[in-house]
């Protein structure tokens, strides 16, 4: 599937911006002082992965990737809520 020049340029710029933001979030994941910082960084990285999937579905023409995006959204929500509950109950010191 071929894209025209405007859409191709837009996809390039968007991919660049997304990867830059993901790198920032990954730096926070590495050096976050507390555990909730890391959980927030993981949440943002997963949301950015959904964005990357939407972009990839446009550039490759694969509509299936949006199903994967929905699955990632559900799993991320469950993971964040589970981590928050176990933080509040004091599972992690």
């Amino acid at each position: 599937m071929e894209l025209n020049l405007i859409l191709q340029t837009g996809c390039w710029i968007a991919t660049l911006l997304l990867v830059l933001g993901m790198a920032f979030a990954f730096l926070r994941l590495l050096r976050g002082p507390s555990l909730p910082d890391r959980v927030v960084a993981l949440d943002v990285i997963a949301t950015m992965a959904i964005g990357v999937l939407a972009l990839t579905s446009i550039t490759t023409g694969q509509k299936m990737l949006l199903d994967v995006a929905l699955a990632i959204a559900i799993i991320t929500f469950l993971g964040t809520v589970a981590l928050a509950i176990s933080l509040e109950k004091g599972v992690f010191k």
């Binding site: 911006l17 830059l20 933001g21 790198a23 926070r28 909730p36 960084a41 949440d43 943002v44 929905l70």
Partner: protein
């Protein structure tokens, strides 16, 4: 014509997500970081998915994108609120430039120096 709109939506959404990543890296405090990341990432992913739905021009794809956007808009605030409350109850430090601390005495125990610990009513809810 539609490709211009799609490209604009993609660049705008990716810009919002880049701002969310920048905010989570540069903000001084867990709660300000959360404030930057949740809103920016939600709006960015909504714009990206609407862009892909406009690009394909297909009812199934548009429905899937709409479901994903609705799900993210419903669940991101819930997850952020639960995580923020857990972090506050675990006495994660506020930024020293914070001017208001509305959860003091309500969530967990007070963690400001020199204040005695109070026993709030919400503590029962947190412990169960």
């Amino acid at each position: 014509m539609i490709s211009v709109i799609v490209a604009a939506l993609l660049v705008l959404g990716a810009g919002f997500m880049n701002l969310a990543g920048l905010g989570i890296f540069r903000m001084p405090d867990l709660f300000t970081r959360m404030h930057a990341s949740t809103k920016g990432a939600s709006l960015g992913v909504a714009l990206l998915l609407i862009g892909s739905a406009l690009h394909f021009q297909d009812l199934a794809v548009a429905t899937k994108a709409l479901i994903t956007v609705t799900f993210i808009f419903l669940t991101a605030p819930v997850a952020a609120q639960m995580l923020g409350r857990a972090a506050y109850a675990k006495k994660v430090e506020l930024w020293e430039g914070s001017i208001i601390d509305e959860g003091r005495g309500h969530i967990g125990a007070s963690h400001v120096d020199g204040l005695e610990e109070t026993e709030p009513e919400t503590k029962k809810i947190i412990k169960t």
